[in-house]
Amino acid sequence: MITLTINGKEIQVPKGTMVLDACQQAGADIPTLCYDPDLRLAGSCRMCVVEAKGRPNLMAACVSPAENGMVIETESPDVVESRKIILELLLARHKLECHTCERDGSCKLQDYCYRYGVTDSRYLNEMPHFSKEDPNPFIKRDYDKCIMCTKCVRVCEEITGAQAINVEDRGHHAKISTVFDGKLADSTCVFCGQCVMVCPVGALTSKVSAGKGRSYQTQSVLTTCTYCGTGCTFELNVKDDHVVGVTSVRDSELSPVNKGALCVKGRFGWDFIESEDRLTTPLIKENGELRPASWDEALDFAANKIKEIKAKNGPDALALFSSARATNEENYLAQKLFRAAIGTNNVDHCARL
């Protein structure tokens, strides 16, 4: 254990603890923009700077290991001045339109400007433009609101494994881009939306949820995705009894299977919920026509047909194709039913195709 002093309070932490964590343990709330506990450290936004006694420069708390005897101030005049100027510099390149922004109320830039009373930027002059139209049905890329935290790049590489995006060019021309600055659809992007999940501002947002309600207008309902047997946890965003979006739950206690990661279907494919075409009862085909039936009736119908075929043509006249939308356990039971109860090995699964 090492001992350090944070805002006058002495605390003990295990060796190897980062200053950021030590500060949090000491009750100091450090603003962060590029830090994400699940991603490789970047140390680039410099919002988390703190003052360590005896050091000429401020240190970025997220990438600095705590050392024995350190004396740290987390809101000293120098620290506050630096954070304010960093916010002003970001505002000077930002398309500030909170009134129509999807992230109004859940935006780190907005929150920190509020916290440090940054209303305006003294560096406002030439306004660079990074925005681009990306014709895809899922993700809006508005880089005029990008703060270059590179979380999207890191999550795409490290969690999704797609490596669809990276930083292009340098200096203040640097921007997030696909290879050759093309469309997401022409890249290796799989539209998982992990980048939207980690974006701390309104630079990456869901087109599917656009205009349907901001975080403070919706209620979050924790549930499990029904698309496949993986069983990812997510939150349905509900407004006036309608689902208007899906957001991730990154807490591994609540979301042990996927820790917030989703695929394109789970994150963007929830419009089926209120679809006219959605089946609400089983259907039985009679004389070439489908008619609604009850579950009991449908199951009896299927069981009788199976028995009939087996009696007439033997068990190998039957085959089972099961679905990845069912869980492993359900798939196990289904094949067991066919192998043990019906007596055929004609078993296959859509995930194998």
């Binding site: 450290l41 970047a42 140390g43 680039s44 936004c45 410099r46 919002m47 700077v49 420069n57 401020l58 970025a60 990438v63 600095s64 290991p65 120098d78 001045e81 630096s82 100027i85 960093i86 510099l89 970001l90 000077a92 390149r93 003294r122 560096y123 002059n125 030439e126 703060i147 270059m148 990276n166 930083v167 060019d169 340098r170 200096g171 203040h172 021309h173 640097a174």
Partner: protein, 406 residues
């Protein structure tokens, strides 16, 4: 040129740097032989006690840097920084052109000290002819057996100033974007491909053969006590003698300009001198009697840096020069961290505004505030040093700014 003291450049133009044999004839590779017979700890101690400090800008004791390399690591690398991106600096090119074998020998000495048999030289993209020279020099040394089992590969940069920063350099060798890493971990612990790596400047390596041959005490006795040895300087700007010199490190800046440089061109008066490259402070006439060594320069708020000496005569427009410098940094910022990516951009805007006579005192206040934050909060030395020319000129040449603001 009686005042120069040539150690690294003693045989300049007398031997062919590409031919190892010629270097051996003037006593080359004796230091390496000696180093190989020493216990690595003693070797590191020897280099440490010579007082040799990094010639790339940060002035860190070379032996001390090597001592941080973990002994038990299986693979380690020796990397030579030949990025030489600092405008007005070409001393590493001169060292290669005049005495490349000393650089190779120095790298192999470092290899013996840290138990590494692989070296890389990262060469500035604008020096393709040096790449060729070095490859021939390495081939010749290998053929002669002078380097033993120590191998050296040459890698080429692509013209980014920031790739002279040691961790950006490492990223670049690895094939990534040239962006600095945060430190710690320092390269000595986790460098190239994640393994312990010593990064030293060309001149630092080139000092090693003579230290081994003549002994640490000999080297420690040359020049300034705390930054001993000689330093290769490159003199540019309004000087009568724009060339390179090798001087002991206690040499006075005034003598560089007036004795070696033959004074200011056209008999004009001196206005300012910038030492150490573009990020150096502007030094006024009143500070000229300062020795060029690292600590003396630091004491007047300047830096020896790469050893570039840029002379400006009385007719030069300081604000104009600084606004051009701010454009350089805007162009060279890698874009990784907020204070530098946005800060160098806004510094250039404000400097151009001042230069065009449209700025007010408020703009000066804003740029000073921005400078302070960049120095304190930027990720790497580029962003931290970019505002130094601005700050130092607002301090020492306030009247030049006052003339331009409304």
């Amino acid at each position: 040129m009686a005042e120069e003291m040539r150690v690294l450049l003693e045989y300049a133009d007398k031997i062919n740097p590409e031919i190892a044999d010629e270097y051996v004839k003037i006593g080359g590779y004796v230091g390496l032989e000696k180093a190989r017979k020493m216990d690595p700890n003693d070797l590191i101690q020897e280099v440490r006690s010579s007082g040799l400090r990094g010639r790339g800008g940060a002035g860190f004791n070379a032996g001390m840097k090597w001592s941080f390399v973990p002994k038990n690591a299986e693979i380690k690398y020796v990397v030579c920084n030949l990025d030489e991106g600092e405008p007005g600096t070409y001393k590493d090119r001169i060292i290669c052109e005049k005495n490349a074998q000393a650089l190779l020998e120095g790298m192999a000495i470092c290899g013996a000290a840290i138990d590494s048999n692989q070296g890389y030289i990262y060469c500035r993209g604008e020096y393709p002819f040096i790449v060729k020279l070095l490859k021939n020099a390495i081939k010749s040394a290998k053929e002669l057996g002078a380097l033993g089992d120590f191998n050296i590969e040459v890698r080429m940069g692509a013209g980014a100033y920031v790739c002279g920063e040691e961790t950006a350099l490492i990223e670049s060798i690895e094939g990534h974007r040239g962006e600095p890493r945060f430190k710690p971990p320092f390269p000595g612990v986790a460098g190239l491909w994640g393994v312990p790596t010593v990064v030293n400047n060309v001149e630092t390596f080139a000092c090693l053969p003579s230290i081994l041959t003549n002994g640490a005490a000999w080297f420690a006795g040359i020049g300034a006590a705390k930054y001993p040895g000689t330093k290769v300087l490159t003199l540019t700007g309004d000087t009568n003698n724009p060339t390179y010199f090798e001087v002991p490190t206690d040499y006075i800046l005034r003598d560089v300009i007036y004795k070696l440089g033959g004074g200011v061109k056209g008999g004009k008066k001196l206005k300012a001198v910038q030492v150490g490259g573009t990020s150096g402070a502007f030094i006024p006439e009143s500070n000229l009697d300062t020795p060029i060594d690292f600590d003396s320069m630091g004491a007047i708020g300047a830096a020896l840096g790469s050893g570039a000496v840029f002379v400006m005569d009385e007719t030069r427009d300081i604000v104009d020069i600084v606004s051009r410098i701010s454009k350089f940094f805007e162009h060279e910022s890698c874009g990784k961290c907020n204070p530098c990516r946005e800060g160098t951009f806004r510094c250039r805007e404000i400097m151009e505004k001042i230069n065009s006579g449209k700025a007010t005192q408020k703009d000066i206040d804003n740029i000073l505030l921005l400078s302070r934050v960049m120095k304190k909060a930027a990720l790497c030395g580029l962003g931290q040093a970019a505002p130094i020319p601005i700050e130092s000129t607002i301090k020492h040449f306030a009247d030049e700014y006052a003339r331009k603001i409304v």
